[in-house]
Chain length 324, copies 2
């Protein structure tokens, strides 16, 4: 347990499909303790949500009664309780208004934050990322004003959210991570790949640049080069996974740039922030640099900050989250 | 055996990764008999290439000595003998010059047609399709002259070849079919899909139109709508596979159109032909119509005609293939 002068004030849960991460937060919004579990909503123990909750948070609640807030797939139709999506443009007040509670076996109310839905020709949904985005805005309020920002959340289903006016205005979902896994593990491209313990930056950047400079026929046309550059002796088996990763991330950024171009903007001119694990954010930063973006820092502790901020707005804790 | 006035003149093999198709062709290039086997080069019987060849063609060769020609993955590095790629622009003479022979156990020489390689920033390779393309040009020689044509070969790895001056000038490989299978069977998109015995044309066209009209962010950004249109009640589980199929084929055609746009041309103005199985070519024709292309007939018997034509040019048979 981290030493802190602050007393526990809130239990905050980031409860996704494959994992559950619990934070014991002090009155200043700083984490006093954390627990990580593999009890995602698709991987629950026999006793279901209640058992996973007890195993992760029981000791904390035995020590003191605390309010509990949760975000992520726990609020989906397959979750503990369904918290229906709120629609874009969505601000923190709308999220607070959409909170649904479920009573745990020990009697405590768990407050579940809703996800966000964008109704359009290409509908989009997020659950959990909205909370991280408002965590980023809590740490750096100017992101939500002064022209707005573009916040990227790399991962299985990468999200890119346009924020402005302190709201999530609209967002895109790129299935980059999951497509990479499906192609590597279940297509001909994987057959010539060899696993490598080290990241090959040169191969990765070659993929990004190929998407940027020669990707106009689309990703379905470029991915086969993972194989043909191997056949022609230009990529080793060890380099092919990083090349394909760069190619897909490059197509994601090319697509995002195309969206911006149609609005007379460009990635290179946007205020950018990233939320996610360090290694993946580093990859995205390297790729963004190839699109002329040299300032895309990772937002630290976005999840805890977001959960604390929404809990404060909902009146579950007294203090506002610290701003940087 | 089909009744015919013509005597057997050639054994022609279309020998791919997962299947082997053998044709007994008469002196007019018409098939007198055919055999289909699952003995593709990755699925050979214990006796290897020789056993597969004997089982498929042994009776024909017992009846009369005949020249044998083969195209497809049988000429790859994993094949019976490697027939190194010839480079674009590639005409039938280059293919003939690149033929490599392998002696079967019974003593007969099998003539293996090389594949075609395009050396560029995005290298491309084909094996087997080059023979089908020259089969199409054999049936309709004007395709190879008068401004050229674009020949599409839908499938696991769809090819689009620019032909002109009686040569394959360049080509693209879209991994459309394999990406569809990987996403359906190994991503979250498959989880909400339900199998359907019938093709849902409306859902398919919706996918094509989405790619055409709203696909500028790229296929990684649009495929998630297969799920979100389900979540928002706009697509049933049964419709989702056809929607995704339309979306991917739509992105393929959008990409091809983008290639043409950069050359001040458009799909709608090109002479188009398709080679492939009827159901898949029908899908592509329906998708092409959404891009303004209303004349893209399927070329019949392209494989047999191509093998016969190359055999004739190589002097293995006397008569040229019939032209339509």
């Amino acid at each position: 347990m981290t030493a802190s002068v602050s007393a526990p004030a809130l239990i905050a849960l980031d409860w996704g499909t494959t994992s559950l991460r619990a934070y014991l937060l002090g009155a200043d919004g700083v984490a006093l303790d954390t627990r990580a579990s593999s009890a995602g909503i698709m991987n629950l123990p026999a006793g279901g949500f209640d058992q996973a909750f007890e195993e992760t948070c029981g000791e904390w609640l035995d020590a003191a009664p605390l309010p509990v807030i949760a975000a992520g797939m726990v609020g989906s139709a397959q979750g503990w309780v369904e918290a229906p999506y709120v629609e874009t443009p969505a601000g923190p007040d709308a999220l607070v208004a959409g909170i649904v509670t479920v009573k745990a076996a020990r009697g405590v109310a768990v407050h579940v934050v809703p996800g966000v839905l964008e109704q359009s020709a290409l509908p989009n949904v997020m659950r959990g990322e909205e909370t991280q985005i408002f965590g980023a805005l809590a740490s750096e309020p100017s992101l939500g004003t002064s022209g707005g920002a573009l916040i990227g959340l790399p991962g299985t289903h990468a999200k890119w959210a346009f924020v402005g006016d302190e709201r999530i205005e609209r967002f895109y979902t790129f299935m980059t991570g999951e497509t990479f896994g499906a192609l590597r593990d279940h297509s001909i491209l994987g057959r010539t790949m060899h696993p490598s313990a080290t990241h090959d930056e040169q191969a990765f950047i070659r993929g990004v640049d190929t998407a940027r400079d020669a990707g106009h026929a689309g990703v379905l046309a470029t991915i086969f080069t993972t194989r043909t550059l191997g056949l022609t002796g230009q990529l080793t088996g060890e380099q092919q996974p990083d090349y394909l990763s760069g190619l897909l991330i490059g197509h994601e950024l090319r697509g995002l740039n195309e969206v911006l171009t149609r609005e007379h903007a460009a990635l290179a001119g946007k205020t950018l922030r990233l939320i996610g694990n360090d290694a993946l954010c580093d990859r995205y930063r390297a790729a963004l640099a190839r699109f002329g973006c040299h300032d895309a820092p990772t937002v630290a502790q976005a999840t805890e900050h977001g959960l604390y901020r929404i809990a404060a707005l909902a009146g579950l804790v007294a203090a506002p989250v610290r701003t940087a």
